[in-house]
Symmetry: C2
Subunit: 192 residues, 2 copies
DNA sequence: GGAGGCATGTAACCTGTTACATGATTGC
DNA sequence: GCAATCATGTAACAGGTTACATGCCTCC
Protein backbone atom coordinates (compact mmCIF):
# COMPACT_ATOMS: atom_id res chain seq x y z
CA UNK A 1 0.00 0.00 0.00
CA UNK A 2 2.70 2.42 -1.05
CA UNK A 3 2.24 6.12 -0.65
CA UNK A 4 1.00 7.80 -3.78
CA UNK A 5 3.56 9.36 -6.04
CA UNK A 6 6.45 7.12 -5.13
CA UNK A 7 7.93 6.72 -8.58
CA UNK A 8 9.75 3.57 -9.50
CA UNK A 9 10.05 4.10 -13.23
CA UNK A 10 13.34 5.27 -14.61
CA UNK A 11 13.49 8.74 -16.05
CA UNK A 12 16.66 9.31 -17.97
CA UNK A 13 18.92 12.23 -17.37
CA UNK A 14 20.26 12.83 -20.85
CA UNK A 15 22.76 15.46 -19.86
CA UNK A 16 24.95 12.88 -18.14
CA UNK A 17 25.78 10.70 -21.17
CA UNK A 18 26.26 13.79 -23.33
CA UNK A 19 28.84 15.10 -20.86
CA UNK A 20 30.57 11.73 -20.56
CA UNK A 21 30.71 11.48 -24.33
CA UNK A 22 32.15 14.96 -24.66
CA UNK A 23 34.80 14.21 -22.02
CA UNK A 24 35.65 10.91 -23.71
CA UNK A 25 37.24 13.06 -26.42
CA UNK A 26 39.56 14.66 -23.88
CA UNK A 27 39.57 16.76 -20.68
CA UNK A 28 37.59 19.98 -20.64
CA UNK A 29 36.00 22.52 -18.32
CA UNK A 30 32.26 23.14 -18.13
CA UNK A 31 32.44 26.08 -20.46
CA UNK A 32 34.62 24.16 -22.87
CA UNK A 33 32.28 21.18 -22.81
CA UNK A 34 29.49 23.48 -23.76
CA UNK A 35 31.46 24.82 -26.71
CA UNK A 36 32.59 21.34 -27.67
CA UNK A 37 29.00 20.11 -27.77
CA UNK A 38 27.90 23.16 -29.69
CA UNK A 39 30.57 22.86 -32.34
CA UNK A 40 30.69 19.11 -32.82
CA UNK A 41 27.09 17.96 -32.38
CA UNK A 42 25.14 21.11 -31.61
CA UNK A 43 22.88 20.51 -34.60
CA UNK A 44 21.15 17.70 -32.75
CA UNK A 45 21.96 18.36 -29.10
CA UNK A 46 21.91 21.38 -26.81
CA UNK A 47 22.94 21.84 -23.21
CA UNK A 48 22.49 24.80 -20.89
CA UNK A 49 25.23 25.77 -18.44
CA UNK A 50 22.70 25.74 -15.61
CA UNK A 51 22.36 22.01 -16.18
CA UNK A 52 25.99 21.35 -17.03
CA UNK A 53 27.66 22.54 -13.83
CA UNK A 54 25.48 20.58 -11.40
CA UNK A 55 25.91 17.51 -13.63
CA UNK A 56 29.70 17.88 -13.47
CA UNK A 57 29.52 17.97 -9.66
CA UNK A 58 27.32 14.90 -9.59
CA UNK A 59 29.44 12.87 -12.02
CA UNK A 60 32.55 13.87 -10.10
CA UNK A 61 30.93 12.75 -6.82
CA UNK A 62 30.18 9.38 -8.39
CA UNK A 63 33.72 8.96 -9.65
CA UNK A 64 32.72 8.90 -13.32
CA UNK A 65 34.82 11.96 -13.97
CA UNK A 66 37.63 13.59 -11.99
CA UNK A 67 39.22 17.02 -11.71
CA UNK A 68 42.19 16.93 -14.04
CA UNK A 69 43.47 20.44 -13.89
CA UNK A 70 42.61 23.48 -11.83
CA UNK A 71 43.44 27.13 -12.38
CA UNK A 72 44.51 26.83 -15.98
CA UNK A 73 46.28 29.57 -17.87
CA UNK A 74 47.20 32.62 -15.83
CA UNK A 75 45.06 33.22 -12.79
CA UNK A 76 41.85 32.57 -14.61
CA UNK A 77 39.49 30.33 -12.72
CA UNK A 78 38.88 27.13 -14.57
CA UNK A 79 38.24 23.52 -13.55
CA UNK A 80 39.03 20.90 -16.15
CA UNK A 81 37.53 17.45 -15.81
CA UNK A 82 38.64 14.15 -17.30
CA UNK A 83 36.60 10.98 -17.73
CA UNK A 84 37.62 8.03 -15.52
CA UNK A 85 37.67 4.30 -16.23
CA UNK A 86 34.33 3.97 -14.44
CA UNK A 87 33.02 6.83 -16.56
CA UNK A 88 33.97 5.08 -19.79
CA UNK A 89 32.27 1.94 -18.58
CA UNK A 90 29.12 3.89 -17.69
CA UNK A 91 29.18 5.48 -21.14
CA UNK A 92 29.55 2.10 -22.86
CA UNK A 93 26.65 0.78 -20.78
CA UNK A 94 24.49 3.70 -21.82
CA UNK A 95 25.43 3.16 -25.45
CA UNK A 96 24.15 -0.40 -25.18
CA UNK A 97 20.70 0.69 -23.96
CA UNK A 98 17.98 1.37 -26.50
CA UNK A 99 17.25 5.09 -26.90
CA UNK A 100 14.23 6.18 -24.91
CA UNK A 101 11.26 6.72 -27.24
CA UNK A 102 11.01 10.46 -27.51
CA UNK A 103 7.76 12.38 -27.31
CA UNK A 104 7.19 14.37 -30.48
CA UNK A 105 5.75 17.84 -30.00
CA UNK A 106 5.94 20.00 -33.06
CA UNK A 107 4.63 23.48 -32.39
CA UNK A 108 4.83 24.61 -36.02
CA UNK A 109 2.63 21.71 -37.10
CA UNK A 110 0.18 22.44 -34.30
CA UNK A 111 -0.15 25.98 -35.58
CA UNK A 112 -0.62 24.75 -39.13
CA UNK A 113 -3.14 22.13 -38.05
CA UNK A 114 -5.30 24.72 -36.27
CA UNK A 115 -4.58 27.55 -38.69
CA UNK A 116 -8.25 27.78 -39.63
CA UNK A 117 -9.11 28.90 -36.08
CA UNK A 118 -7.12 32.08 -36.71
CA UNK A 119 -5.85 33.95 -39.74
CA UNK A 120 -4.38 31.76 -42.45
CA UNK A 121 -1.81 34.49 -43.06
CA UNK A 122 -0.32 33.85 -39.61
CA UNK A 123 0.43 30.24 -40.51
CA UNK A 124 1.89 31.39 -43.83
CA UNK A 125 4.24 33.73 -41.95
CA UNK A 126 5.33 30.94 -39.60
CA UNK A 127 5.99 28.64 -42.54
CA UNK A 128 8.02 31.28 -44.35
CA UNK A 129 10.04 31.94 -41.22
CA UNK A 130 10.64 28.26 -40.63
CA UNK A 131 11.68 27.81 -44.25
CA UNK A 132 14.19 30.65 -44.00
CA UNK A 133 15.60 29.27 -40.74
CA UNK A 134 15.97 25.82 -42.24
CA UNK A 135 17.70 27.15 -45.35
CA UNK A 136 20.11 29.20 -43.23
CA UNK A 137 20.80 26.22 -40.98
CA UNK A 138 21.37 24.05 -44.03
CA UNK A 139 23.90 26.51 -45.42
CA UNK A 140 25.73 26.44 -42.10
CA UNK A 141 25.82 22.65 -42.03
CA UNK A 142 26.90 22.48 -45.65
CA UNK A 143 29.80 24.83 -44.97
CA UNK A 144 30.70 22.89 -41.85
CA UNK A 145 30.64 19.62 -43.79
CA UNK A 146 33.02 20.99 -46.41
CA UNK A 147 35.31 22.20 -43.64
CA UNK A 148 35.42 19.04 -41.56
CA UNK A 149 35.06 16.52 -44.36
CA UNK A 150 36.62 18.13 -47.44
CA UNK A 151 37.00 14.77 -49.20
CA UNK A 152 33.40 13.74 -48.57
CA UNK A 153 32.54 10.47 -46.85
CA UNK A 154 35.45 9.56 -44.55
CA UNK A 155 37.02 6.12 -44.37
CA UNK A 156 37.89 6.19 -40.69
CA UNK A 157 35.08 4.93 -38.43
CA UNK A 158 34.97 7.73 -35.87
CA UNK A 159 34.98 10.38 -38.59
CA UNK A 160 32.31 8.45 -40.46
CA UNK A 161 30.07 8.54 -37.40
CA UNK A 162 30.39 12.32 -37.26
CA UNK A 163 29.74 12.52 -40.98
CA UNK A 164 26.61 10.39 -40.63
CA UNK A 165 25.12 12.60 -37.91
CA UNK A 166 25.87 15.68 -39.97
CA UNK A 167 24.21 14.00 -42.95
CA UNK A 168 21.16 13.29 -40.81
CA UNK A 169 20.79 16.99 -40.17
CA UNK A 170 21.19 17.70 -43.87
CA UNK A 171 18.59 15.21 -45.11
CA UNK A 172 16.18 16.28 -42.38
CA UNK A 173 16.53 19.93 -43.33
CA UNK A 174 16.15 19.07 -47.01
CA UNK A 175 12.87 17.28 -46.21
CA UNK A 176 11.71 20.15 -44.02
CA UNK A 177 12.49 22.73 -46.70
CA UNK A 178 10.72 20.76 -49.43
CA UNK A 179 7.66 20.31 -47.26
CA UNK A 180 7.53 24.00 -46.30
CA UNK A 181 7.72 25.00 -49.95
CA UNK A 182 4.95 22.62 -50.89
CA UNK A 183 2.77 23.75 -48.01
CA UNK A 184 3.32 27.42 -48.86
CA UNK A 185 2.49 26.85 -52.51
CA UNK A 186 -0.76 25.12 -51.62
CA UNK A 187 -1.83 27.54 -48.92
CA UNK A 188 -0.97 30.74 -50.76
CA UNK A 189 -3.61 29.98 -53.35
CA UNK A 190 -6.21 29.92 -50.60
CA UNK A 191 -4.99 32.99 -48.75
CA UNK A 192 -5.67 35.19 -51.74
CA UNK B 1 18.68 44.39 -6.79
CA UNK B 2 16.07 41.71 -7.28
CA UNK B 3 16.34 38.41 -5.55
CA UNK B 4 18.08 35.81 -7.72
CA UNK B 5 15.95 33.42 -9.67
CA UNK B 6 12.99 35.72 -10.11
CA UNK B 7 12.15 34.66 -13.65
CA UNK B 8 10.68 37.18 -16.03
CA UNK B 9 11.03 35.25 -19.24
CA UNK B 10 8.03 33.52 -20.68
CA UNK B 11 8.01 29.77 -20.70
CA UNK B 12 5.16 28.46 -22.73
CA UNK B 13 2.81 25.83 -21.53
CA UNK B 14 2.12 23.95 -24.74
CA UNK B 15 -0.61 21.77 -23.36
CA UNK B 16 -2.99 24.72 -23.16
CA UNK B 17 -3.14 25.60 -26.86
CA UNK B 18 -3.35 21.92 -27.80
CA UNK B 19 -6.37 21.52 -25.54
CA UNK B 20 -7.98 24.71 -26.81
CA UNK B 21 -7.44 23.54 -30.37
CA UNK B 22 -8.92 20.15 -29.67
CA UNK B 23 -11.97 21.72 -28.03
CA UNK B 24 -12.36 24.15 -30.94
CA UNK B 25 -13.49 21.09 -32.92
CA UNK B 26 -16.33 20.46 -30.46
CA UNK B 27 -16.99 19.69 -26.77
CA UNK B 28 -15.18 16.78 -25.19
CA UNK B 29 -14.15 15.32 -21.84
CA UNK B 30 -10.54 14.94 -20.75
CA UNK B 31 -10.39 11.36 -21.82
CA UNK B 32 -12.02 12.18 -25.14
CA UNK B 33 -9.61 15.06 -25.74
CA UNK B 34 -6.75 12.67 -25.25
CA UNK B 35 -8.23 10.27 -27.81
CA UNK B 36 -9.02 13.12 -30.17
CA UNK B 37 -5.43 14.34 -30.04
CA UNK B 38 -4.11 10.83 -30.46
CA UNK B 39 -6.23 10.05 -33.48
CA UNK B 40 -6.12 13.35 -35.30
CA UNK B 41 -2.62 14.69 -34.68
CA UNK B 42 -0.97 12.13 -32.44
CA UNK B 43 1.82 11.66 -34.99
CA UNK B 44 3.28 15.02 -33.99
CA UNK B 45 1.78 15.71 -30.57
CA UNK B 46 1.27 13.74 -27.38
CA UNK B 47 -0.41 14.59 -24.12
CA UNK B 48 -0.51 12.73 -20.83
CA UNK B 49 -3.68 12.62 -18.75
CA UNK B 50 -1.72 13.78 -15.72
CA UNK B 51 -1.13 17.05 -17.53
CA UNK B 52 -4.52 17.22 -19.24
CA UNK B 53 -6.79 17.22 -16.20
CA UNK B 54 -5.02 20.02 -14.29
CA UNK B 55 -4.93 22.03 -17.52
CA UNK B 56 -8.68 21.62 -17.96
CA UNK B 57 -9.22 22.93 -14.41
CA UNK B 58 -6.94 25.89 -15.06
CA UNK B 59 -8.51 26.81 -18.41
CA UNK B 60 -11.95 26.48 -16.88
CA UNK B 61 -10.95 28.77 -14.01
CA UNK B 62 -9.78 31.37 -16.51
CA UNK B 63 -13.00 31.18 -18.48
CA UNK B 64 -11.33 29.92 -21.65
CA UNK B 65 -13.40 26.75 -21.53
CA UNK B 66 -16.57 25.86 -19.66
CA UNK B 67 -18.31 22.74 -18.44
CA UNK B 68 -20.79 21.87 -21.17
CA UNK B 69 -22.22 18.61 -19.97
CA UNK B 70 -21.85 16.56 -16.85
CA UNK B 71 -22.69 12.94 -16.19
CA UNK B 72 -23.07 11.88 -19.80
CA UNK B 73 -24.55 8.57 -20.88
CA UNK B 74 -25.99 6.45 -18.09
CA UNK B 75 -24.50 7.12 -14.67
CA UNK B 76 -20.96 7.14 -15.95
CA UNK B 77 -18.92 9.98 -14.56
CA UNK B 78 -17.81 12.30 -17.32
CA UNK B 79 -17.24 16.04 -17.56
CA UNK B 80 -17.45 17.50 -21.02
CA UNK B 81 -15.90 20.90 -21.70
CA UNK B 82 -16.61 23.38 -24.46
CA UNK B 83 -14.43 26.25 -25.64
CA UNK B 84 -15.72 29.76 -24.90
CA UNK B 85 -15.51 32.96 -26.92
CA UNK B 86 -12.53 34.02 -24.78
CA UNK B 87 -10.96 30.65 -25.42
CA UNK B 88 -11.23 31.05 -29.19
CA UNK B 89 -9.66 34.47 -28.91
CA UNK B 90 -6.81 33.10 -26.80
CA UNK B 91 -6.28 30.36 -29.37
CA UNK B 92 -6.21 32.86 -32.24
CA UNK B 93 -3.70 34.94 -30.31
CA UNK B 94 -1.50 31.92 -29.77
CA UNK B 95 -1.72 31.05 -33.46
CA UNK B 96 -0.39 34.50 -34.29
CA UNK B 97 2.73 34.06 -32.13
CA UNK B 98 5.84 32.58 -33.69
CA UNK B 99 6.48 29.00 -32.57
CA UNK B 100 9.04 28.82 -29.77
CA UNK B 101 12.36 27.56 -31.15
CA UNK B 102 12.51 24.01 -29.99
CA UNK B 103 15.57 22.40 -28.46
CA UNK B 104 16.68 19.42 -30.51
CA UNK B 105 17.89 16.43 -28.54
CA UNK B 106 18.21 13.29 -30.58
CA UNK B 107 19.25 10.36 -28.45
CA UNK B 108 19.69 7.98 -31.38
CA UNK B 109 22.14 10.37 -33.01
CA UNK B 110 24.01 10.81 -29.74
CA UNK B 111 24.46 7.04 -29.56
CA UNK B 112 25.62 6.92 -33.15
CA UNK B 113 27.98 9.83 -32.66
CA UNK B 114 29.67 8.15 -29.67
CA UNK B 115 29.33 4.60 -30.98
CA UNK B 116 33.10 4.19 -31.06
CA UNK B 117 33.24 4.48 -27.26
CA UNK B 118 31.30 1.23 -27.04
CA UNK B 119 30.55 -1.69 -29.34
CA UNK B 120 29.68 -0.69 -32.90
CA UNK B 121 27.18 -3.55 -32.94
CA UNK B 122 25.10 -1.74 -30.30
CA UNK B 123 24.65 1.26 -32.57
CA UNK B 124 23.79 -1.08 -35.45
CA UNK B 125 21.06 -2.65 -33.33
CA UNK B 126 19.63 0.77 -32.41
CA UNK B 127 19.61 1.81 -36.06
CA UNK B 128 17.86 -1.39 -37.11
CA UNK B 129 15.28 -0.94 -34.40
CA UNK B 130 14.70 2.69 -35.32
CA UNK B 131 14.37 1.73 -38.98
CA UNK B 132 11.75 -0.92 -38.18
CA UNK B 133 9.82 1.52 -35.97
CA UNK B 134 9.86 4.17 -38.67
CA UNK B 135 8.69 1.71 -41.34
CA UNK B 136 5.86 0.53 -39.12
CA UNK B 137 4.88 4.09 -38.29
CA UNK B 138 4.96 4.97 -41.97
CA UNK B 139 2.63 2.08 -42.82
CA UNK B 140 0.22 3.30 -40.17
CA UNK B 141 0.25 6.86 -41.50
CA UNK B 142 -0.12 5.64 -45.08
CA UNK B 143 -3.19 3.60 -44.13
CA UNK B 144 -4.56 6.52 -42.18
CA UNK B 145 -4.02 8.85 -45.11
CA UNK B 146 -5.93 6.54 -47.46
CA UNK B 147 -8.75 6.33 -44.92
CA UNK B 148 -9.12 10.04 -44.20
CA UNK B 149 -8.15 11.38 -47.62
CA UNK B 150 -9.18 8.69 -50.13
CA UNK B 151 -9.09 11.16 -53.02
CA UNK B 152 -5.64 12.47 -52.14
CA UNK B 153 -4.99 16.16 -51.60
CA UNK B 154 -8.23 17.76 -50.39
CA UNK B 155 -9.73 20.97 -51.78
CA UNK B 156 -11.26 22.22 -48.56
CA UNK B 157 -8.87 24.30 -46.44
CA UNK B 158 -9.32 22.65 -43.04
CA UNK B 159 -8.93 19.20 -44.57
CA UNK B 160 -5.89 20.40 -46.49
CA UNK B 161 -4.27 21.52 -43.23
CA UNK B 162 -4.76 18.05 -41.80
CA UNK B 163 -3.42 16.51 -44.99
CA UNK B 164 -0.34 18.73 -44.86
CA UNK B 165 0.54 17.74 -41.30
CA UNK B 166 0.08 14.09 -42.21
CA UNK B 167 2.32 14.62 -45.22
CA UNK B 168 4.95 16.17 -42.96
CA UNK B 169 5.05 12.97 -40.95
CA UNK B 170 5.33 10.94 -44.13
CA UNK B 171 8.20 12.90 -45.68
CA UNK B 172 10.00 12.99 -42.33
CA UNK B 173 9.72 9.24 -41.94
CA UNK B 174 10.82 8.69 -45.54
CA UNK B 175 13.95 10.77 -44.86
CA UNK B 176 14.59 8.94 -41.59
CA UNK B 177 14.21 5.54 -43.23
CA UNK B 178 16.53 6.43 -46.10
CA UNK B 179 19.14 7.76 -43.72
CA UNK B 180 18.96 4.68 -41.48
CA UNK B 181 19.43 2.40 -44.47
CA UNK B 182 22.41 4.38 -45.68
CA UNK B 183 23.98 4.45 -42.23
CA UNK B 184 23.46 0.71 -41.77
CA UNK B 185 24.96 -0.07 -45.16
CA UNK B 186 28.05 1.98 -44.36
CA UNK B 187 28.52 0.77 -40.81
CA UNK B 188 27.90 -2.91 -41.47
CA UNK B 189 31.01 -3.06 -43.62
CA UNK B 190 33.05 -1.89 -40.63
CA UNK B 191 31.40 -4.11 -38.03
CA UNK B 192 32.55 -7.24 -39.81
C1' DG C 1 37.29 52.88 -19.14
C1' DG C 2 33.91 50.03 -21.19
C1' DA C 3 32.23 46.13 -23.91
C1' DG C 4 32.38 41.56 -24.57
C1' DG C 5 33.90 37.07 -23.90
C1' DC C 6 35.55 33.62 -20.45
C1' DA C 7 34.21 31.19 -16.43
C1' DT C 8 31.63 29.11 -12.49
C1' DG C 9 27.94 28.58 -9.90
C1' DT C 10 23.09 28.97 -7.49
C1' DA C 11 18.05 30.00 -6.93
C1' DA C 12 13.61 29.88 -8.52
C1' DC C 13 10.63 28.12 -11.26
C1' DC C 14 7.95 25.47 -14.80
C1' DT C 15 6.65 21.55 -17.51
C1' DG C 16 5.45 17.24 -17.94
C1' DT C 17 5.71 12.12 -16.75
C1' DT C 18 4.77 8.21 -13.89
C1' DA C 19 2.58 6.05 -10.33
C1' DC C 20 -1.12 5.84 -7.34
C1' DA C 21 -6.04 5.91 -6.08
C1' DT C 22 -10.68 4.96 -7.17
C1' DG C 23 -14.61 3.27 -9.27
C1' DA C 24 -18.08 2.24 -13.08
C1' DT C 25 -19.18 -0.30 -17.27
C1' DT C 26 -18.71 -3.71 -20.90
C1' DG C 27 -17.71 -8.06 -22.91
C1' DC C 28 -16.21 -12.76 -22.39
C1' DG D 1 -16.08 -13.53 -11.94
C1' DC D 2 -12.46 -11.15 -14.37
C1' DA D 3 -10.01 -8.38 -17.56
C1' DA D 4 -10.08 -4.45 -20.25
C1' DT D 5 -11.50 -0.03 -21.10
C1' DC D 6 -13.67 4.23 -19.64
C1' DA D 7 -13.01 7.97 -16.62
C1' DT D 8 -11.18 11.48 -13.31
C1' DG D 9 -8.06 13.05 -10.48
C1' DT D 10 -3.70 13.80 -7.23
C1' DA D 11 1.13 13.34 -5.40
C1' DA D 12 5.83 13.09 -6.10
C1' DC D 13 9.42 13.87 -8.71
C1' DA D 14 12.89 14.56 -12.51
C1' DG D 15 14.70 17.32 -15.72
C1' DG D 16 15.79 21.42 -17.57
C1' DT D 17 15.63 26.67 -18.56
C1' DT D 18 16.24 31.40 -17.29
C1' DA D 19 17.82 34.84 -14.48
C1' DC D 20 20.91 36.30 -11.15
C1' DA D 21 25.46 36.88 -8.97
C1' DT D 22 30.23 37.44 -9.40
C1' DG D 23 34.62 38.36 -11.17
C1' DC D 24 38.69 38.07 -14.37
C1' DC D 25 40.84 39.04 -18.72
C1' DT D 26 41.45 41.06 -23.38
C1' DC D 27 40.98 44.32 -26.81
C1' DC D 28 39.79 48.76 -28.45
Amino acid sequence: MGRPGKPTGVRQNRTRPAVLGALARGPASGYEIRRRIESSFGHFWQESLGQLYPTLSALSGEGLIRVADEGGHGDRKRVRYAITKAGREALALWLKEAPAPHVERNELLLKVFFANEGKLADALAHLESSLRDAQAQRDILLTLAKEIFPTGEPRETEALLGWLTLDYGLVGLRAHIDWCEGALRRLRARAR
